[in-house]
């Protein structure tokens, strides 16, 4: 594919992610933090996010699976997930976390389980999108173009 075309694709895709609420302004900040001295910054941070989120989701699963659910622990996990998702601009994940926390406060296990499900779903979605976006970027760069990030 030609670089220009790739660039356009990237641009469109990028815009849609924002339009659909998967990403927010914070992601733009990340992009702006990337520069010549830190060319792989976005990739680095996004990767970190993936790792961290998966760990947290697993922990949440386990915590909710306990006989005696430790809501404080769950709250802590959710809080952290909320923090990291907001740091990279994964808006929908963050929103799901907020809802999750509310039910956590209510100590509603059922609702919490549902929330966990929701959070996981959103996470997987944004993960797919981000991976696609980053792949596009890679292709552009590989084709000789400047990183659109």
């Amino acid at each position: 594919m030609e670089v220009d075309q790739l660039q356009r694709t990237f641009h469109d895709y990028h815009a849609s992610l924002f339009n659909e609420g998967f990403l927010d302004e914070q992601f733009v900040q990340l992009q702006q933090l990337q520069d010549e001295s830190n060319p792989g910054f976005v990739v680095e941070v996004v990767s970190l996010f993936f790792e961290d989120s998966e760990r947290l989701l697993n922990d949440l699963s386990k915590a909710l699976d306990q006989v005696n659910v430790d809501f404080r622990k769950i709250d802590a996990h959710v809080h952290q997930l909320k923090g990291s998702s907001s740091s990279i601009g994964a808006q929908r994940v963050r929103n799901a976390c907020i809802a999750f926390r509310n039910f956590c406060d209510e100590r509603n296990i059922e609702a919490c389980l549902q929330c966990l499900q929701q959070v996981r779903q959103e996470y997987l979605l944004v993960k797919t999108k981000l991976e696609a976006l980053l792949r596009l970027e890679q292709q552009i760069v590989a084709a000789g173009g400047a990183s659109p990030m």
Partner: protein, 631 residues
């Protein structure tokens, strides 16, 4: 998105290019956040250190004190509560801390404020927010300076203390008493002006209740610190040891911070001067300048490389254990001291001793010349004193200086300085033969050339072991020396002993006297008087356990010096302050050995003092070692 840099010319006194290079420590267990923040801060041209664990961060802060300007910390962390970290940092390092959290609930933000956070940022944090964090650093510094200047106390000793604590102090040491006087006056004036506004601003401006660090309180603080060891002193333990109701850990922590800086400055200055005297002569010059200010003696010692921070702290405690007016800080200027002494001193009433000062010995090779001419007719007695002095000196930190001197001048005798300018005295100060000498251990002698002038000297000569030595101010001006520079020790040998304890006869003035016997004064007057005055070597020695002091004022206005029934020379105007308290009381020699420079004003205190002093003075060993040689 880059932070502005360099354009903060109105922000003073910050280094150029501020806030570029601001040293930030970021603590967050969320690695994504941490990485993002790190990058944002780097873009702001800050120097970033990131930490994912609060405990690690705390250790980092402790180990690398002074390496960070500001801390950013997350609220929720697994190993330590962010608020706790916040508190600890505030107490131990007194750095501005900004809290961060994805949770922006009001109660949490409120908690942050209560725990002392200077700001609370809600995640996700934008880079614009980080661009301005430098304001917290500046604000805190300015508030500290303001607090320093305007701390609630109106008392002079606090003022003095603050002045002394001020960084200007260090430079003053080198510049001489003059600067200090000016600075003091300026500071006093501005303080007076500011106080009224201060009160208005106070409640709103400060977030913590203002604690007045009085001398007593500070003494307690320093004893607590000494007890714990300066390296191990943490606010919580200090607070426990101090056991002062109403005092908070924050108060102690911020005070501790300042105290550490103060000690650092002391040793910093000492290093600058770089004197390491094995004998006193070399550093004497410097010490002269230093010594003219009581606290400066500490510097002198520090300069001699003999003072570890603990000792500095101890000495500091020592100094502060004197109530105002009795302060051993001969320092700053006559007026100040006089003021101080008048204010707080119990010495003014006739029957108290005035404890003062530290003998300042400015050695020069000249002294050697002097030594061969004992003024005292009774050399034995004098050498007796000298020996005794030497021993006693061991107890006195600054005395170590003397020790060396003594060492060098084994023939030094104690002489009394009557007045350098006897002729010029309004008050006829004529020592009476019956006067006894108060020997201040640290002060030794230089026989004045003018035996005739040394009226009191004769009598003291008769001092023997049975004599009580009181307030002998060793004020030593060799004519030859006097003719030399006025700026200070130079080649002059001047021994200024600020009488630690003034005979009651001498009244408070004595203290001031000693105080006023700033080297500068001496030198000035010395210079002026050289031709006319002879020798005026006054030896003022103080002996502890003087219970029967009666003080009489010399009535000399400026010097407020020692006035005794026996004419003590009270310098006038620019004349050399009287340091000669010749007293006739008799004291057992044994008590003398307990005497310390910083003796208290009254006998009772004196008795207790030595013990305290002994405890507090940690350095004396080098001094002591020199003493035996003296004999």
């Amino acid at each position: 998105m880059a932070c502005t840099s360099g354009g903060k010319s109105d922000v003073a006194p910050v280094p150029e290019q501020f806030p570029v290079g601001l040293r930030v420590l970021v603590v967050d267990d969320d690695v994504i956040c941490l990485r993002v923040l790190e990058q944002m801060l780097r873009k702001c041209m800050y120097k970033v250190t990131s930490c994912s664990q609060a405990t690690v961060a705390l250790n980092l802060l402790r180990e690398r004190k002074g390496c960070f300007d500001i801390v950013l910390s997350d609220v929720h962390m697994p190993d330590m509560d962010g608020f706790k970290l916040l508190e600890l940092v505030g107490l131990e390092m007194d750095l501005p801390v900004i809290m961060m959290s994805a949770d922006g609930r009001t109660n949490l933000v409120m908690r942050g404020i209560r725990h002392g956070a200077c700001d609370y940022l809600i995640k996700p944090i934008r880079d614009e927010e980080l661009k301005n964090i430098w304001q917290h650093v500046v604000r805190k510094k300015w508030n500290e300076i303001k607090e320093h200047d305007h701390s609630g106390s109106m008392e002079d000793h606090d003022r003095q203390k603050r002045v002394i604590d001020d960084a200007e102090y260090a430079s003053c040491v080198n510049e001489g008493a003059d600067e200090v006087l000016k600075m003091q006056k300026k500071r006093r004036d501005s303080k007076d002006e500011d106080d009224t506004e201060l009160e208005n601003d106070d409640p709103a401006a400060t977030k913590k209740p203002r604690v007045v660090w009085s001398v007593e309180l500070h003494q307690q603080f320093v004893s607590a610190v000494n007890q714990l060891g300066i390296d191990k002193a943490v606010p919580k333990r200090i607070l426990e040891l101090m056991n002062v109701p109403g005092l908070t850990r924050e108060n102690v922590a911020s005070h501790l911070q300042k105290f550490r800086l103060y000690l650092k400055r002391l040793s910093g200055v000492a290093q600058q001067q770089g004197c390491l005297p094995s004998t006193y002569c070399g550093p004497v010059e410097q010490n002269l300048k230093l010594a003219s200010l009581g606290r400066f003696d500490i510097q002198a010692l520090a300069a001699s490389g003999q003072l570890p921070p603990q000792t500095l702290a101890a000495l500091h405690a020592e100094l502060l254990s004197r109530p105002p007016g009795k302060l051993v800080l001969p320092a700053l200027d006559q007026r100040t001291l006089l003021h101080a002494s008048l204010q707080g001193s119990k010495c003014i009433p006739a029957d108290q001793d005035v404890a003062y000062g530290q003998p300042l010995i400015k050695c020069s090779s000249n002294i050697a010349k002097q030594t061969s001419q004992p003024v005292m007719s009774n050399e034995d007695v004098l050498s007796e004193f000298a020996a005794w002095s030497a021993k006693s000196l061991g107890d006195m930190v600054p005395a170590c200086n003397f020790g060396s001197v003594v060492e060098r001048n084994s023939n030094m005798l104690i002489s009394f300085i009557q007045q350098q300018q006897q002729q010029q005295q309004k008050q006829p100060v004529i020592p009476e033969p019956s006067r006894s000498i108060n020997v201040q251990p640290s002060c030794l002698v230089v026989p004045s050339q003018s035996s005739p002038n040394f009226q009191a000297g004769n009598s003291p000569v008769s001092v023997n072991q049975n004599c009580s030595f009181r307030n002998l101010a060793l004020d030593y001006n060799n004519p030859s020396l006097q003719s030399n520079n006025s700026s200070g020790a130079g080649q002059n040998m001047e021994v200024e002993c600020k009488p630690v304890r003034m005979h009651s006869e001498f009244g408070t003035a004595g203290s001031v006297l000693s105080a006023s016997s700033c080297s500068k004064d001496i030198q000035d007057s010395a210079c002026q008087r050289v031709p006319s005055s002879l020798s005026t070597i006054s030896v003022v020695m103080q002996v502890p356990n003087i219970n029967d002091m009666q003080s009489s004022h010399s009535g000399k206005p400026d010097l407020v010096q020692v006035s005794t029934r026996n004419p003590v020379y009270v310098g006038k105007g620019p004349s050399i302050p009287s340091r000669f308290a010749v007293d006739e009381h008799e004291l057992p020699m044994s008590s003398i050995s307990q005497m310390k420079l910083y003796a208290e004003n009254n006998g009772n205190k004196v008795k207790q003092e030595p013990n305290d002093l002994t405890e507090n003075v940690r350095v004396g060993i080098p001094v002591r070692q020199t003493f035996p040689q003296m004999i």
